[in-house]
Amino acid sequence: MPDTTEEKPKKKFTGLPLRARVIRKLSLIIPLIIMFLVVIMAVFADLSWLGLPNVRLSPHDPDDVVIRDRFLPPAFMDGGKSEYLLGTDKLGRDVLSRIIYGSRISLSISALVISITACIGTVLGIFAGYAGGRIDGFIMRVTDVALSFPGLLMAMLLAVAIQPGYWTVVFALSILGWAPYARLLRGEALKIRDSDFVAQARVCGASPWRIMLRHIFPNVINSLVVMITLSVGMVILAEAVLSFLGIGVPAPTASWGSMVNDGRGYLDTAWWISAFPGIAIGLVVMSGNFLGDWLRDKLDPRLRQL
């Protein structure tokens, strides 16, 4: 092609309107900042894990009951005190401090659940995809059932069986949560299994385990990372639902879902008890989803439908 026409399509391609480019940049930067802040909040809520219980980010102890200060509106409203930025609840506990501590529950549970489910799902998925045949059929049938079974129902069943608690929540969210990973990675493994380099590895005498670990696994990491990022939001939402219903981490531990529930009875007088934790959930989940979408576009555009 002549030089003169070569410039034109290039310009057209990179020349997205400024507004669109700014929006695209912002939709990455804002979620990153939010996620970063939430992690900071969770880690530095207090430093008792470093042996410094008096150094804390949260303005108050989340469980400090000050009956005198109950139902105080947020600082920016009439009658609010500046020491309670987002107001207080029915026991005079600081809403902001409880949100800060609640981030620990949300983040630690989602980190645990995602590690467990991603591991189980990856192993099962790669194994099913590589082994094929009856093993594949069996694993995928179980996966189908796990995928369509309502997770909330399973969690409630477990809350009946075992007492509600931190580890019950982790267990309840993990027991069905591996299924999407298994299905996704099985499909990926199936495609890679028939590729030339796997055939060559087999000719060279590599054992099935070696092929799965050294040849298939590195090639599905992209999909795995995308899936993990996208599930952060889902797990945080699921945890919030459980604690909202009272089968999550038991009171008085602050968690975002149970805080929304706490304020349900005082909507007419103290809306802030319910409103702010919900906004926190929404912001974090949205950031997780945005980052997941961005990663997917970067790493694995084929996974659009996820």
């Binding site: 189908d144 369509s148 079974f149 009946v160 809306w271 929404g282």
Partner: protein, 307 residues
């Protein structure tokens, strides 16, 4: 085809048995269910008598065989707390839940289809941006919080709608809207992406080249194919509705299956939780089975691959 259906039926049946076993032993692993209904000043003899009355003195294996025997006759046992047959209690609650699910399904589907098609047809327009933003918001905000905020705005502040109860049609507005909120964002995205796929295909180009009006291309040619994907996830919709019902009925004090489930979870009335789980499992498995069979009916490849 018959072979395929038989195999899939068998598989579903085995899955159902598996779930039943899991549920049965999970619930019993929790400890003595009688500790909740037994009063502290019962004598040991009285306690043993109550235990025998409920058949809890037998071993787990025996209990399981009795339970399965009853189950095959359609008997889910009695509620430990209410001392009434489970099936009657569920039968009372189920219609109330259906009164939420059925309108929510039709309204949600209609809205999701309309908005999804609108977004796909005018891709990257202001409509598309707006609808995508709605979907992102809908998938990020927790449903229970949105419902509570709706109560705050429409019931507490504006006083337009009642907070709880089910007496008049206006009582239905907020609960049904909440249920719609649970299924719509995901459905909308699905319709949009499936519509985009279809609009990209060759036969749509042909239809356009033929000079058919855009109205006919979209509503007649594209829609018929784009609607298949959303329908195949009916199992997923059902799961969303279960979650939605539990939350909606808790917030609006609606006497349906969801509220029953929450109550019995707290009173550890395991006969009811067990029965609801098994009934839901039957629903889920039958929906999957129907989807699979209709799929195999349309696409012969699946028939041979899977069987």
């Amino acid at each position: 085809m018959t072979r395929f259906i038989i195999i899939r039926l068998l598989q579903s049946f085995i899955a159902l048995i598996g779930i039943t076993i899991l549920v049965f032993f999970l619930v019993r692993a929790s400890g003595d269910p009688l500790s909740l209904i037994a009063s502290p000043n019962m004598t040991v003899e009285q306690y043993e008598a109550v235990k025998a009355k409920w058949g809890l003195d037998k071993s787990w294996g025996e209990q399981f065989i009795i339970y399965m025997g009853d189950l095959f006759q359609g008997d889910f046992g009695d509620s430990l707390v209410k001392e009434k047959p489970v099936i009657g209690i569920i039968g009372q609650a189920l219609p109330n839940t259906l009164k939420l699910i059925v309108p929510a399904f039709f309204i949600g589907m209609l809205l999701a289809l309309l908005l999804g098609i609108l977004a796909a047809t005018y891709r990257d327009s202001i409509w598309d941006q707006g609808i995508k933003f709605l979907a992102v918001l809908g998938q990020a905000l927790p449903g229970f919080w949105v419902a509570i905020m709706a109560v705050l705005i429409f019931s507490v502040n504006l006083g337009w709608l009642p907070v709880a109860g089910m007496a008049t049609p206006s009582h239905y507005v907020l609960p049904v809207a909440t249920m719609v909120f649970f299924m719509m964002p995901g459905m909308m995205r699905l319709v949009r992406s499936s519509m985009l796929d279809v609009l990209d295909s060759e036969y749509i180009k042909l239809a356009r080249i033929k000079g058919l009006p855009e109205r006919v291309v979209i509503w007649k040619h594209a829609l018929r194919n784009a609607i298949i994907t959303p329908l195949t996830v009916s199992g997923m919709i059902f799961a969303m509705f279960i979650t939605g019902a539990v939350i909606t009925e808790t917030i609006f004090n609606w006497p349906g299956i969801g509220k029953l489930l929450v109550e019995t979870t707290f009173s550890r009335d395991f006969a009811i939780v067990q029965a609801i789980t098994i009934i839901v499992a039957i629903f889920v498995l039958s929906i999957n089975l129907l989807v699979d069979i209709s799929y195999a009916y349309i696409d012969p490849q699946i028939r041979y691959q899977r069987s």
